[in-house]
């Protein structure tokens, strides 16, 4: 829950300007980007995701580093990813 998960913005959902589809370690899910309305990320940019919300923009190198940290955590990250996979944000 405290883990910030890096995701790459793929596309915004039509007619839902605060929802975007992201790619997280190959998992595609919808997240809310409403907390970044001051400076919305574009497709191809990376964000740190906390409990279904993008909380900050990051660059690709930081995303890679964050991912490595998470993979090192092991089980807790797997659980978080599994939870994200179940998630059905709309």
């Amino acid at each position: 829950m405290c883990l910030g998960i890096p995701g790459e913005i793929i596309e915004y959902l039509p007619e839902q300007p605060d929802l975007a589809r992201v790619d997280v370690s190959g998992v595609r899910r919808v997240i809310n980007v409403g907390l970044l309305t001051d400076d919305l990320p574009k497709p191809g940019e990376w964000v740190l995701i906390h409990v279904g919300f993008a909380l900050s923009k990051i660059d690709e190198a930081e995303a890679a580093a964050a991912l490595e940290f998470l993979e090192g955590i092991g089980q807790a990250y797997e659980e978080e990813l599994a939870a994200l996979q179940e998630s059905m944000i709309e």
């Binding site: 405290c2 907390l35 909380l55 998630s87």
Partner: protein
């Protein structure tokens, strides 16, 4: 049990450690607190203490939001979940936290409808799909998760949902740090500031630590080198007699935080006069409740919440561990009665808890730790 990893940049770490050592005044002891559980995890995963000179001690702070939820609050939540037609929803981290009468998992096994969700927005969806049920979201976390709860509440209102509410247990980091600074049994020299919380609140709220308490703060990232770099920055400040707020993690943390996030928190929630923290006791203005304006989404008003108070189990020394007064292995039940599988205290529940971090990375007993300390000496 896992073993401490050598990490990719071990050479750089040794080089940084040498620079840190060079700044240590002979005969002086340094104590720095890492506030955030994510940092505690990195420190133990990579055995960072073993890189540092013996005169530097890292103390683990209260920054694991699951670890600070008092038992009575868990019991209140289970009481709430047991009301007719209620579906309680909660993050996975919360499920094993022991209350006075068992955990959410235990309650679930007894037939209470408690569901794990990844996001408060999933909870909102459950409410939409179950119009004849009352869906409560157990909201926990520091400022990292509070904006998500706030946004979800606003969405619930926009959608005109009347069967969704929030059981607010959000805590705020600054009063906890202040309580630690004011506690007489601990002398700290500086802080490794939390990373993700600071993406929301920014760096300014820490200014009082430098100004009023004369202690440096360096907001840090989560890589092993980030943490060593931050300790180096703290040591430079100390050797130059400065105490300032510095941002080692500026690649993620903006100095002013996330304005939108702060705005939605402030719109929907307000500070409680006081809130009980596990192990730390009551701290004033340290937690958030739903604003009156949004009373129809406040589970504490919609339901009768008993306000149970349960003393922590006698054997449990989580309070001392959370304040950094004791190392986890100094707790009498550490690794024997209290393990991640059967936690007695909350510090053993979450992987970010100090006790779980020690346990998972093999610092399981005094002997081993003392051996390490002897070998370092």
């Amino acid at each position: 049990m896992r073993f401490v990893d050598e990490f990719r940049d071990a050479d750089k770490a040794h080089a940084l450690a040498a620079k840190i050592t060079a700044l240590c005044e002979p005969g002086r002891q340094y104590k720095f607190m890492e506030v955030c559980g994510g940092h505690t995890h990195t420190i133990y995963k990579h055995g960072l203490e073993d890189y540092l000179p013996e005169s530097i001690t890292l103390v683990h702070g209260p920054g694991c939001p699951v670890c600070v939820i008092p038992m009575g609050r868990v019991d209140d939540a289970i009481h709430l979940a047991s009301q007719p037609d209620v579906i309680m929803t909660s993050f996975g981290d919360m499920m094993r936290v022991p209350g006075g009468d068992g955990s959410f998992f235990d309650a679930k096994a007894r037939g209470t409808d408690i569901r794990m969700v990844y996001s408060p927005l999933d909870s909102l969806k459950i409410a939409k799909n179950n119009p004849d049920k009352r869906v409560v979201f157990m909201a926990i976390g520091f400022e990292t998760t509070a904006p998500s709860t706030a946004m979800t509440l606003l969405r619930a209102q926009a959608a005109g949902l009347t069967n969704f509410s929030i059981f607010a247990n959000h805590v705020t980091i600054i009063p906890a740090i202040k309580a630690i600074l004011d506690s007489p049994d601990l002398r700290l020299d500086g802080f490794i500031g939390p990373g993700h919380v600071s993406t929301v609140i920014g760096c300014r709220p820490y200014e009082f630590i430098a100004r009023d308490y004369g202690k440096p703060v360096v907001v840090a990232g989560f890589e092993p080198l980030d943490i060593l770099q931050s300790i180096y920055m703290l040591m430079i400040q100390m050797s130059e007699g400065r105490s300032e707020i510095e941002n080692q993690y500026s690649r993620v943390v903006p100095w002013d935080g996330n304005m939108v996030a702060l705005k939605v928190i402030n719109e929907t929630m307000e500070l409680r006069p006081y809130f009980e923290w596990r192990g730390l006791g009551f701290i004033s203005h340290s937690a958030l409740s739903v604003r009156e304006k949004y009373a129809s989404f406040d589970a504490e008003l919609l339901f009768d919440v008993p306000g149970v108070r349960v003393a922590d189990p006698k054997a449990c020394q989580c309070g001392e561990v959370l304040k950094g007064v004791l190392k986890p292995w100094e707790c009498k039940v550490f690794g024997t009665a209290c393990t991640p599988e059967t936690p007695i205290g909350t510090c053993m529940v979450s992987p970010e808890g100090a006790c779980a971090a020690y346990y998972n990375y093999g610092r399981m007993n005094r002997n081993r730790v003392m051996e390490t300390e002897v070998s370092r000496a």
